[in-house]
Amino acid sequence: MLIKMNGISFETDKEMTILQVSQAMNINIPTLCYHPDLSVRANCRVCLVEVEGMKQLQTACNTHIHEGMVIETNNERVRQARKTIVEMILANHDSNCTTCHSNGKCELQGLTEILNIRHNPYDNVLESEPIMKGNPSIVRDMNKCIKCGRCIEVCNEVQKVGAIYNIGRGKDMRMGPAYDYDLSQVQCTYCGQCINVCPVGAIYEQDDVKEVLACLESDKQVIVQVAPSIRVSLGECFGMTPGTLVTGKIPAVLRKIGFDKVFDTNFTADLTILEEGTEFLSRLNNNGVLPMLTSCSPGWINYIEQFYPELLDHLSTCKSPQQMFGALAKTYYAEKINVEPEDMVVVSIMPCTAKKYEAKRPEMSRNGVADVDYVLTTRELARLIKVMGYDLDVADEAFDAPFGITSGAGLIFGASGGVMEAALRSVYEIVTGEELLNLDFHDVRGLTGIKEAVVTVGQIDVKIAVSNSLVNARQLLDKIKSGQADYHFIEVMCCPGGCIGGGGQPRPTTNIVKLKRMEGIYAGDRNMALRKSHNNPAVKALYDEFLIEANGQISHQLLHTHYTDRQPK
């Protein structure tokens, strides 16, 4: 196929859209509703181009090229049409950019620059409405919404949750839960994927920075834990390339900010492996319910409780690493440093908006004291650092003991497939008593939706599956329901790509960015001296000193939980 774009010839034998051709030719066509990882909606009509012989302007994102096509991407007619469209969007948009969550990162702001819009001829037609913040995780400010539909696409196609959809029509068309409910009133998992794809500041995390700042000023003992995936993404908020490991910078800057102790959630990830691995072996040996499903991802827990409660028995009873940490901090550690649990504040730095909800679950508290008090997403942490006048230009420091020594197995929890890989490294050695020589299970890594493998552990061929994003979890759950799933063990991560693609991660979080973060995670794992959870000396010490045995009585009190059928009846 030979086509011409802006007078330059281009030849290809592939099916391509005009937008793809322009990208290959380094020609800029502005877009707004287009997102590289989502199916094309062509709603916003910003990427208009002129195609010879066509009466109407065509959208580059969904128009396929054909032999002999002649395209102009940037003549006066095209520029005027694009400009008019963006002016109309602006006329119905709360343009208080300075106080917006997306200020500086907003794609609409970028467009006004590209199209040189300095004055809007259209009357402002915005009808202000209250900001929706009735849940602990996600805030929706529809005054900012430009109705591009990316959130709808991710919620309905990538996650297949359907918490939000376009409702109403004409000028009243809006994105949101049915009947304008808050997300807490519908089946929402709080995964926050809608936040990650929003081009403006219409959806964002419930901001807890202010509350954490207040705690830091108080007399309380304020400790913090940092999830595995934060160290490969936080750098992006400070101008570094995705995947840059900033492991040592985090404890250093958090101490400067005033946290009394900085701990690593990788530690409780290692602990999870021992608890979950033991639980798995016990199910395997005692005809327990199989396949066993992992339980680290709180968006996933929200999903199965609301959509597949009949399969809750398949879920591992292990709490997530965040909550294991919280439980140990307010019991074992509080006692160790002689502080009352109520005088201690546990802050989590998580890649996740669902973690905010998880921390507020009633079963995650003891005598009315929550195990985890505040959860900050990666984005909020970056803001906290900036508010306190710091950046990541600090000398590396180590995490604090006793929750500071960690393994590469704990680190890879941050990427889809990581929990499974970490579990296999330990289960193999525990069952066989032999040393596992090849630690890298490449079959379970990467962005593929459902990954499968068979691993021979002693006498048994253990059949495993790993899924990321809820549309794939749904597939596996349907298989289990219909009795077609002969897996033993399934890892499920709510977000596409796992925690490195979490709803609390810096924007943009595209597949390209996710792959770089994954590379960072696996590079970190490769370079660690300790790469298996069961070899972690600090974890061993915790068992010797306090827990006694995996899945033992104390473990069950502190590290395991139960689930609730939350399907609307």
Binding site: V40, R41, A42, N43, C44, R45, V46, L48, Q56, L57, N62, H64, Q80, A81, T84, I85, M88, I89, A91, N92, P121, Y122, D123, V125, K147, G149, Y165, N166, I167, G168, R169, G170, K171, D172, M173
Partner: protein
């Protein structure tokens, strides 16, 4: 005429059978699918829903797909304001609609059809359902129709009142249980339509034309109408005429002749303008009434016949007031999916309101024109692309009257001007 007999009233099943009922179906079932396509092609018939696309091409592309499961949809959503011809066809003889659906199903190789009827026509539902039931009982629907080996069933679906659901892909979304938003094409419905299967979507009037084409043969059919616009067309005439109603005339009849058929203007006043094709149609001033009603002559003025709605206005109607009503309709009926249609219709409606209360400026007219052009050029589907037709034609033919409104004058004395200029 071809589609209606004079004052046809609902026929009983038996009477319909006697009155050439199912003759076309028997004829179709005795022929090969290719053969029927050839006959339709020879008739030159084009779709009556608005786009005027050759019927045989659409049918043939569905027929040629390799999929085993295919659907046909009879579009009776009829949401275009001032259009009520499909209602008459369904009311007067649902059996004809059913017969033509079966023929279409046979021709394209579909074993299932959907009749999607405008929600406001729910009162027709019992009669239509009983007609379907009778056809099933009498062997015209169901398995092995008339021992031909062909099986076909018809499902009835009610619309819920959204104008956009007349657009074929929005209609399909609606049948599938989702919000009626248009899909982008390609893929075309002929390849991926209802439940992602090849689907033929045709308007009621289009399908019904299959009956005279098969009964009379394409040569006789072609003697009706003009060379390129063959057959007859149903026009829904409303407004200030003496006898509003559905009129079947041959293509090539002039607009004036059609209006004369209705008895002319009721009030004794003069005609001011005629809007052809419903709210999304072009507004023609009285000096253009000699235009012939055919696809070619409307194409020549960069317009179309649309659904065949003819709204006739006399001199008591103010053009600004009329456009304000039209713009409010589109502001409400845009699905809201794409920016130009959602936001553009909103701004058009605001400016028309300003004009009608005397608060618009020259700048508003510039914005009105610029918005309309962008909507035509950039909207996602036909709704947004055609919504400004009336505005654009009035800016052309009635600029003087519109400009008078800028000076707080309404020549027809309809708009309440000037009274509230100081109110913000």
């Amino acid at each position: 005429m071809l589609l209606f007999k004079r004052a046809e009233s609902p026929l009983s099943f038996k009477d319909y059978q006697k009155d050439d009922g199912f003759k076309a179906l028997r004829c179709a079932l005795s022929k090969s699918q290719e053969n029927i396509i050839q006959i339709i092609k020879a008739s030159n018939v084009v779709g009556r829903g608005g786009a005027g696309f050759p019927v045989w091409i659409k049918m043939d592309s569905v027929r040629r797909t390799q999929e085993e499961k295919k659907y046909i949809i009879c579009n009776a959503d009829e949401g275009e304001p001032g259009t009520f011809k499909d209602r008459e066809l369904l009311y007067r003889n649902p059996l004809k609609v059913i017969e033509s659906m079966i023929i279409a199903g046979y021709t394209v190789g579909a074993d299932e059809g959907y009749l999607y009827v405008r929600g406001e026509y729910d009162y027709l539902k019992p009669d239509i359902l009983s007609a379907i039931k009778q056809c099933e009982t009498e062997g015209y629907l169901g398995n092995n129709i008339l021992d031909s080996g062909f099986s076909f069933k018809i499902n009835y679906r009610s619309g819920s009142g959204a104008y956009i659901c007349g657009e074929e892909t929005a209609l399909i979304e609606s049948i599938e249980g989702r919000t009626g938003d248009p899909r982008h094409k390609p893929p075309y419905t002929a390849q991926e339509g209802l439940f992602n299967k090849p689907t033929l979507v045709n308007n009621v009037e289009t399908l019904i034309n299959l009956l005279p084409i098969l009964n009379l043969g394409p040569d006789v059919y072609r003697t009706y109408g003009t060379e390129t616009s063959t057959g007859t067309k149903l026009f829904s005439v409303s407004g200030c005429v003496k006898n509003p109603g559905v009129y079947e005339v041959q293509f090539g009849t002039t607009l004036k002749e059609l209006i004369d058929l209705t008895g002319g203007i009721r009030s004794g006043l003069k005609i001011k303008f005629v809007q052809v094709g419903g709210s999304s149609g072009v507004v023609l001033p009285k000096n253009m009434l000699d235009i012939t009603l055919s696809y070619e002559s409307f194409k020549a003025i960069d317009s179309g016949l649309g659904s065949g709605a003819i709204y006739v206005a006399d001199e008591s109607v103010c053009i600004v007031d009329y456009l304000m009503a039209t713009s409010k309709f589109f502001e409400h009926e845009s699905c809201g999916k794409c920016t130009p249609c959602r936001e553009g219709n909103r701004h058009i409606s605001r400016i028309m309101t300003k004009l009608s209360n005397g608060r618009a400026t020259q700048n508003d007219l510039l914005i009105l024109e610029k918005t309309s052009h962008v909507m035509v050029q950039a909207s996602f589907c036909g709704l947004g692309q055609t919504a400004p037709n009336a505005i654009l034609s009035c800016l052309k033919y009635f600029s003087e009257e519109i400009n008078e409104h800028l000076k707080s004058k309404c020549p027809s004395g309809v708009c309440k001007l000037g009274g509230d200029v100081h109110v913000n």
